[in-house]
């Protein structure tokens, strides 16, 4: 099924769920309304013609003004793929978790939370995964400033601290 | 002790004039020191051999540097290092038990040497229940291991200790039962007598008499004895890929080397028992070879078995706990019972 068909099906099933559809790029993507996101995902997984049984990855992206979460989906049976994007505000970004649809999303979402601070609602275990639990800030945001110390330990290389060379 | 006492009386004429208890104490001390030296030497050579054998089996050379020729002094250097290491006792350990465990393990291993016949005359303690003595004294090892595992106050050590108890206690049964097969044939528990019963050619060794029952018993004994001394594929108590180092996780330096010494001593003890009971002890395989000293034959056979133990270690993976128990209770034990029945019937008929 092509991206266009997938887009049409979703738009017909869920009103104003797709905010933008773009298939002029290398990999066509759909921008999904965060409010409808969970339903769309459920539809994509469970519908016979869609059958997206494999979630490749969940990536956080910092677009400057907004944050985004990008989902790459693939169907092993139908051999088609689609990219879903959810655009979230910088302050208090929230989107519903799909960890109960694809269990692999559990760790992926934790990673996005860890590095971008996107909160996934109804996630079973939303904690930091790669960084220490008491790390402050979300390092992959473009406006992240590296702290000078972590628990009182200087973390910057002397070259970067500027006090010695 | 009589023959040895006699031997020393001949060697040192003045000794016979002393009261028996003093003479016996002196001679006993000499024998103990000799045994200890032997164990230490055997461990040194055994560890070196194990390294060389494993090296060559793995397409490498093993130690090659220390001492010159094929790294012969490697284990000596290691021993010196171990002895010089700081003695660490974990803060939260049960200190008296922690300190006592390696000594107990080693003492048990050392005591087992008392009843092993090295030649016609040399047997430190010629007990008429020698086999029973060895079996019972060597099961003391398990108490030491559990003690060490428990006292370390480390979960991995605890696992190792518990596994060791389950394993060694279970495997005592096939060990004893398979030895009973040979005892049935020999009709005695006296180690020296068992050896003397097998005099003659290689065909009069227990392992080849009443073929194939004692042969299978020997096989069972060998497998079960591997478990007794915690060697691969039954090295679960120290299973390094699961339990870090098992019961010896918290031990280091001198105390750890006692465990190591005990392991190699035990390896030799079980090999010596197998030799004595099944392979004709110090007897030469053929009449015309009797001019070679008995101790050579004894050592040769025992070391051959030790070599097979090492060979297996560097070939096999490790069993799981439940499979270990399965092997003991559902394979080795029934088989050895069946062997006892067959051999008894054969003897009766």
């Amino acid at each position: 099924m092509t991206a266009q068909e997938i887009n049409d099906r979703i738009q017909n099933t869920f009103a104003d769920s797709v905010l933008e559809f773009n298939d002029t790029v290398l990999q066509p993507y759909l921008k999904i309304n965060p409010a409808k996101f969970y339903e769309v995902c459920q539809y994509l997984r469970d519908n016979e013609d869609m059958d997206f049984n494999f979630l490749n990855s969940v990536s956080g992206v910092d677009y400057g003004e907004d944050l985004g979460v990008v989902y790459h989906l693939y169907s092993m049976t139908r051999k088609h793929k689609i990219v879903l994007k959810v655009i979230l505000p910088r302050e208090n970004p929230q989107v519903s978790s799909i960890a109960d649809l694809w269990r692999t999303a559990d760790w992926h979402e934790r990673e996005v939370y860890d590095l971008f601070g996107v909160v996934f609602l109804n996630h079973p275990n939303l904690r930091r995964i790669l960084l220490p639990d008491d790390w402050e800030g979300y390092p992959l945001r473009k406006d992240y400033v590296q702290p000078e110390t972590y628990n009182g330990i200087p973390v910057l290389h002397p070259d970067m601290r500027g006090d010695s060379k | 002790m009589e023959p040895i006492l006699q031997f020393f009386y001949n060697l040192v004429p003045g000794l016979a004039d002393l009261p028996l208890w003093i003479a016996a104490t002196i001679v006993g001390a000499i024998v103990v020191v000799a045994m200890f030296t032997y164990i230490a030497l055997f461990a040194l050579i055994g560890i070196w051999l194990e390294r060389k054998i494993s090296g060559h089996m793995q397409d490498r050379l093993g130690p090659m540097e220390v001492g010159g020729w094929h790294g012969w002094a490697q284990t000596i250097a290691d021993t010196v290092k171990l002895l010089l290491k700081e003695d660490i006792v974990p803060d939260k350990a049960d200190k008296p038990l922690f300190r006592f465990a390696p000594i107990l393990v080693f003492a048990a291993a050392l005591s087992a040497f008392a009843a092993i016949p090295w030649s016609r005359s040399f047997i430190p303690a010629n007990l008429n229940v020698g086999l029973l003595y060895i079996l019972s004294i060597s099961s003391l090892v398990v108490i030491g291991i559990l003690m060490g595992g428990w006292a370390s106050n480390n979960k991995w050590s605890l696992y190792g200790g518990m596994r060791a108890v389950a394993q060694i206690v279970s495997y005592e049964i096939p060990v004893s039962l398979s030895l009973i097969v040979a005892v049935l044939i020999a009709g005695t528990l006296d180690m020296q007598q068992i050896v003397l019963n097998q005099s003659g050619s290689i065909l009069s060794w227990n392992v080849f008499r009443f073929f194939p029952f004692p042969f299978i018993a020997f096989f069972i004994y060998f497998i079960a004895s591997l478990a007794e001394v915690n060697r691969t594929p039954f090295d679960l108590p120290e299973a390094e890929s699961e339990l870090v180092a098992g019961f010896q996780t918290e031990y280091s330096g001198m105390r750890w080397s006692f465990f190591m010494l005990a392991e190699y001593a035990d390896m030799f003890v079980v090999a010596a028992i197998a030799t004595t009971v099944f392979l004709g002890g110090w007897q030469a395989p053929f009449e015309f070879l009797t001019f070679i000293p008995a101790a050579f034959w004894f050592l040769g056979k025992a070391l051959l078995i030790v070599f097979v133990q090492m060979w297996l270690r560097w070939t096999l993976p490790r069993l799981r706990v439940d499979q270990l128990m399965y092997t003991a209770w559902k394979v080795l034990t029934p088989f050895s019972f069946a062997l006892i029945v067959f051999v008894s019937l054969w003897k009766i008929l």
Binding site: V25, L26, Q27, D46, N53, F54, L55, N56, S57, S59, G60, V61, D62, V70, H72, M76, K79, V83, D100, L101, W102, R103, T104, D106, W107, H108, L115, R128, I129, L130, L131, P132, P139, L140 | S54, M57, Q58, D59, K155, Y159, T232, P233, D235, L236, A239, E240, S241, E242, L243, V244, W314, T315, L316, P317, R318, L319, R320, V321, D322, Q323
Partner: protein
């Protein structure tokens, strides 16, 4: 979850209510001989039986994604080496192909063939390590050194072609860093001739050993639908009987020109999807990789492998999710370019990360020793899990 039908726990012990028992919390790692790096698994155990397992990762986090945003397009390649340091060639390949597709760059034929040869050789090397360390986990030490012996030969080949033995930085945008030296192709063919019979030796000493089979068969079973749902890929997915290989299903480079099979677990020794199947898929894949290497080396065209390497890498604004089949599974690079000199974002979807996430689901009910077998069979590389 609707599609969850994990098998019943393997070992269940009925404890009478009168007996007071306690669960023990056991920290397996971060320093543990068989967690393949600095993985920590918090185990709740009831004696030898595991009640729950929770992997704790991040001990080897080196901020790859943050690094990638601060260096030029080309300078990311040495960093990709360090993700999965056992299969660096395959790591380079995914990133580079992703960039080439964004740039719409055609690569010289000879370079394509060299890429396939080195990545398949690296796949063999990686599977060899997986085999050896798996033997080590199960308690057999010797196979470990046999596989290292043969892996060394592959590393020698790599050293000859690119100078490095572990972190190659060999596959470049538009081609490869160095052309193959004189006689290298023959050495590759010689190696394949030498290597294929050696696999029998591993099978003799390890694969078909009864103790090994007992330890691995019917342990850590992952049914196919669970595997897919947890995002498993590579040999871990194929071990569950799913015939899915990106080299066939979503071909990249020139893999569509070669004749090879996708190996799947068939449950020869127990259940489909047990640890033995995952192990066996790796053994079988070594045969297939050897087949590919032989074909590629025989067809290797003449030419200049560096012909199409651009002097300056200009990536047009856009984004691409490139996935390739590494020895561990689907390695995805989600690359976003804003047309500048440095990547805007490089997200790595690492296969080991997803494969490891299935651990809590299959751990309950197995023994501590099985835990080691399961972790080993997933063949994780912590450098890639933590990035």
């Amino acid at each position: 979850m609707k599609k969850d039908n994990l098998p019943a726990a393997q070992f269940e012990v009925e404890v009478p209510d009168t007996l007071k028992t306690e669960e023990m919390t056991l920290n397996m790692g971060p320093q543990h001989p068989s967690t393949h790096g600095v993985l920590r698994v918090v185990l709740k155990t009831d004696g030898e039986i595991i009640k729950s397992a929770e992997p704790v990762i991040g001990y080897l986090h080196r901020c790859f994604e943050k690094h990638a945003e601060n260096v030029t397009w080309h300078q990311v390649i040495p960093f990709t080496d360090r993700l999965d340091y056992i299969a660096s060639m395959n790591n380079n390949l995914g990133y580079v192909i992703g960039l080439e597709r964004m740039m719409n760059l055609q690569v010289n034929e000879r370079a394509e063939y060299l890429r396939v040869i080195v990545s398949e050789l690296n796949r063999i090397a990686s599977h060899l390590i997986a085999l050896g360390t798996y033997g080590l986990d199960i308690g057999a030490f010797t196979p470990f050194l046999y596989v290292f012996r043969d892996r060394e030969r592959i590393l020698d080949l790599f050293e000859e072609i690119c100078g490095a033995r572990l972190l190659y930085n060999y596959i470049w945008v538009g081609g490869v860093a160095y052309d193959a030296p004189q006689g290298w192709r023959d050495k590759v063919l010689q190696f394949i001739d030498y290597f294929v019979p050696k696999i029998k030796e591993y099978n003799d000493i390890l694969t078909y050993n009864k103790i090994f089979i007992d330890r691995t068969a019917k342990v850590g079973v992952i049914p196919a639908d669970v595997a897919i749902n947890y995002g498993l890929s590579g040999p871990s997915l194929r071990g569950s009987g799913v015939e899915f290989d990106l080299r066939k299903d979503d071909p990249y480079s020139i893999y569509d020109r070669f004749d090879f099979n996708v190996c799947t677990g068939k449950g020869q020794m127990g259940t489909v999807g047990d640890t033995w199947d995952r192990y066996w898929v790796r053994v079988a894949e070594m045969y297939e990789s050897a087949k590919i290497v032989r074909q590629a080396a025989e067809q290797l065209p003449e030419g200049d492998a560096k012909e199409t390497v651009p002097r300056n890498i200009k990536v047009p604004a856009g984004e691409y999710y490139m996935r390739t089949e590494t020895p561990r599974g689907e390695l995805g690079y989600y690359i976003i370019s804003d047309g500048g000199k440095t990547p805007n974002r490089v997200k790595v979807r690492s296969p080991a990360y997803c494969n490891l996430s299935v651990l809590p689901a299959i751990a309950p009910g197995v023994m501590v020793a099985d835990m080691v077998a399961i972790i080993g069979s997933l063949d994780i590389v912590l450098g890639e899990v933590d990035r």
